[in-house]
Each structure stands twice: as C-alpha cells, then as structure tokens.
C-alpha cells in the first residue's frame, strides 16, 4: 500500500491542455472519489497516476516504502477484456490463480458465465467481469474509472457494497472516478471535483460506515453537485 503525490502536475495533448496545476496528495489506504463533467480530465488523471501517460509539467511521485508502479491496477472505462480468453481466464491474468478468479467472479454474480467468450456477455456483465479482474488482482493502489456506469440500480448497489467491503478488508489505496455524486459520497472519504483540468473542490466526507443516506449525506451531495453544475 502506498500513496500518491502530484505536484503542480499538468498534461497536454498537442495544444489541448487537459490537466493543469494539479496539487494532490493521496495518502495510502484512503478512498478518494473524483467527479466532474464529461471530458474534464478524470480518466486522464487516472492514467497519469497509473503511469500510462507522462505529465507534461509538474511531477508525480509515489509515497511509501514499498511504492511500485507495478502494484497499481486500473479498471478502465472500457472493459478491455481479451476477446480470445474466456471469462474466467480473463480474470486470471497477471498472476491471479484460477481459484481466486472464480471467487471474484462469484462475487460479481457471474459464476455461470465463466466459460463464455467476452462477446457473449451483456454490457453490464462485461463491466462486472472487468471489476472482478481488478479486485482479484489484490493491488496496492486501485483506480476505478466509472466502474459501475453500465449497471442497473440494484446490481450497482451490490457492487458498491462489494467494493467497500474489499477495500475495508485489504486497505488498498483507492481512487474512484464516477459521474454519480451519490456513489462518490457513499464510497469515498474525500471527493474531488475536477473542472476543465483543475481541482475545483476538495471535500472530505466525514461520515461513518456503513453510510446512511441521511441529511448530512444529502448536504454533501448537494454541495458537490452545486460545484459541478455551477461550473
């Protein structure tokens, strides 16, 4: 488990400045959510943290003794399942054994699909397989890029519980990109609102777990939503 430290980080594609002046310190074992409008740079930020893109200005550092880029996992916004492997084998990549893979598949409710090809699954099922793959890899840092976007409300709640449970058990550093503010407040200890590549709000969520959708919860929700809409 280790943390992440961004100093003055910026990223541009050609002339398009996607991230600018990001100062962010994410302690190890924390659960951070990132919300923001479509195209504001959320995915890019995750990719920078995972080392898939280099910052074009500023710096990125991992904090902690056993900090290693290779222990960061990312659940991509698209599922990125290998079309030539069946579902179980898709989960059992990168050193995950079959038994663990099957347990993970069970947890996302798709055990009976384990022998199917990825293109035989529904959209939400594929997303859950990708989630299972990310969770099964027992990472130090786990970055979720809209992990539940394709799921109905009920399955979504199940998956939220699953994510929360595993996080509490394994204490990996977790960063969640989501467009569902309520999900952000429900899962994270801290919500960051990104707007046009910069941090617009950095909000601690001071609520006990398991969280209740009480007034305080709603007020957090509202505050964050206002920031997004008000952009």
């Amino acid at each position: 488990m280790f943390g992440i430290e961004l100093k003055n980080a910026g990223k541009r594609f050609g002339t398009n400045e996607v991230l600018r002046d990001i100062d962010l310190s994410i302690p190890k074992g924390s659960f951070t959510a990132i919300v923001g409008k479509s195209g504001c740079g959320k995915s890019t930020l995750l990719r920078v943290i995972a080392g898939l893109e280099e910052v074009t200005s500023g710096s990125l550092a991992y904090t902690g003794v056993e900090a290693k880029k290779s222990n960061i996992r990312i659940m991509f916004q698209d599922d990125r399942l290998l079309p030539w492997k069946n579902i179980l084998k898709n989960i059992a990549i990168g050193g995950v054994n079959k038994v663990d893979a099957e347990i993970a598949l069970e947890k996302v409710g798709l055990r009976d699909k384990k022998g199917d090809w990825p293109d035989e699954l529904s959209g939400g099922q594929k997303q859950r397989v990708a989630l299972a793959r990310a969770l099964a890899s027992s990472p130090d840092v786990l970055l979720f890029d809209e992990p539940l976007g394709a799921l109905d409300a009920l399955t979504r709640m199940d998956m939220q519980h699953l994510m929360e449970g595993l996080w509490q058990e394994q204490h990996f550093t977790s960063i969640l990109v989501t467009h569902d503010v309520s999900e952000a407040v429900y899962l994270a200890d801290r919500v960051i609102v990104l707007d046009e590549g910069g941090v617009k709000l950095d909000q601690e969520i001071d609520l006990g777990r398991p969280r209740e959708r009480d007034d305080k919860f709603t007020s957090y929700e509202k505050k964050i939503l206002d920031q997004i809409v008000g952009g």
Partner: protein
C-alpha cells in the same frame, strides 16, 4: 442469416475443379487440344499411375515433403522470431527491417550461384532456399500483425502486471494470430514454389526435379502431372492451415459462425 445454404457443404468447393478437368478431357478427346502439348487428364493419370507403380512418384513426393517440412520449420521459425522481435523492439526494427526488405525481393533463381558457394549442392542448399522463401511472408505478416495488436489491450496487460513473456503469450501473440496465420497459409504455398528452384541444384529426386527434367525432356504428361501434384499439395497445406485457423481463432465470431 446463419441458415445452411445448399452450397455450404464439403463438396461444393470441388465443383469448379471437377468441371475444369471434365472440360479439358472432352476438349482433349475431340482433338481440340493436341495431346503432345496438353495431355488429357486421363493421360496424366496414366503417367501418374506408371510412376506410382515403379514407386518413383512416392519417392519424389516423400523427398520433397521432407525438404518442405524441414525448410518450412527453419524458415518459419526464423521469420516468426524476426517478426516478433522487430515488431516489439524498435531498435531491432530500425536495424534490421530495411535489410530484410532488401533481401526479400531477390529471386531464388538469382541467388543459386551464391547458395552453391555457401552451402554446396547437398540437402542444406535446398533447405536453405525453401527456408528463405518461407521466411519472408511469415516475417511480414508477424511483424504487421504485432504492430496492429490493439494497444489498449497491451496497455491493460502492462497495468495488470504481466511480465514480458505473459504479455507476449496472452496478448501480443493471440492478437497477431489472425495475421500470422495468413502468413503461414501463404508460406505453405511458397514452400512448394521454392522447391522447384531448389531442386534444380544437384538434385536427383523431388517434385521440383521431376518437373524440371520433364520440362527439359518435353514429357508433357509428367509436366502436367507435377502441376497437379503441386495443386494437391497446395490444397493439402491449405487445409492444414485452415484447421489451425479454426482452432486458434475460435474466439473470433467470424470463424465461429461458419
């Protein structure tokens, strides 16, 4: 859509070859094709039967097949490895690719003097020529196959802590497989084509030898027989390649459907 059409069966593809052969026989029988120039199918079969009874046919086919297999494996392996390394390591691509592209266009026939110089006139010279012929299509297809593997999947593999080797076996190889198989399929044909030139060097057996001597001595029935042999061997190689394709690409709906 997926309904089995009447033409979707094992026999239909043989319709065309059979029609051609029948037509040719009829034209030959009627004297519209002079048999000194193009013997009829029956005459060719007769020539084949004679060679078969003396055991010569089998000998030639056996020897050529042996050379084909050895040459194919050597050339295929080298082409594959070159394609693999050049496709993954930019340094090697820059160093070697241009040279390979230059060597590639040199015809075997032009190379023979040099090959004799290097390898003599024994088996190794023949196998060398086959290997060279096989190498290039496999190289080019492997190389391009690897270059065209979806980089998103490679990125995923890297992030999920795959070692170079795992990345290769789990993502790069299967991703490039459709292209590699095209290369193999093509190369299987090239094998036999290379042999005809290779088997002119100090040869005393092989289909290429049979073809060349038949040509030199105007035995048109044997010339045509060798053409038929090539066609059969080609079809056979292709069949093997197709079976591989169907097994290795069964994840791909395009191959699953038929």
């Amino acid at each position: 859509m997926k309904k089995n059409k009447w033409y979707n069966n094992q026999l239909f593809p043989w319709l065309l070859p059979i029609v051609v052969v029948l037509l040719w026989q009829v034209l030959g029988d009627r004297g519209l094709i002079k048999s000194t120039m193009l013997p009829t199918p029956l005459e060719v079969v007769e020539a084949g039967k004679n060679l078969f009874q003396t055991g010569e046919l089998q000998k030639h086919v056996y020897i050529s097949t042996e050379r084909a297999i050895i040459g194919f494996f050597i050339g295929g392996t080298i082409g594959f490895l070159l394609g693999l390394f050049n496709g993954t390591v930019l340094f090697l691509e820059k160093l070697i690719d241009t040279s390979i592209q230059m060597i590639r266009t040199i015809p075997h026939l032009a190379l023979i003097p040099l090959v004799i110089l290097w390898f003599g006139i024994g088996e190794s010279a023949k196998i060398f020529l086959v290997a060279v012929g096989v190498m290039f299509p496999i190289y080019i297809n492997t190389f391009n196959g690897i270059k065209n593997v979806d980089y998103k999947l490679i990125e995923m593999g890297k992030v999920y802590g795959m070692s170079k080797w795992q990345l290769f076996t789990n993502i790069i190889l299967p991703g490039a497989m459709p292209n590699i198989l095209v290369g193999i399929r093509y190369a299987l044909g090239v094998t036999w084509i290379s042999l005809i030139v290779a088997e002119t060097i100090g040869a005393d057996a092989g289909i290429g030898y049979l073809a060349t001597t038949a040509r030199e001595f105007m035995q048109m029935d044997i010339v045509v027989l060798t053409i038929v042999l090539y066609a059969i061997l080609g079809k056979l190689s292709d069949f093997i390649a197709k079976v591989c394709e169907q097994r290795l690409l069964k994840w791909n709906p395009a191959y699953r459907k038929n």
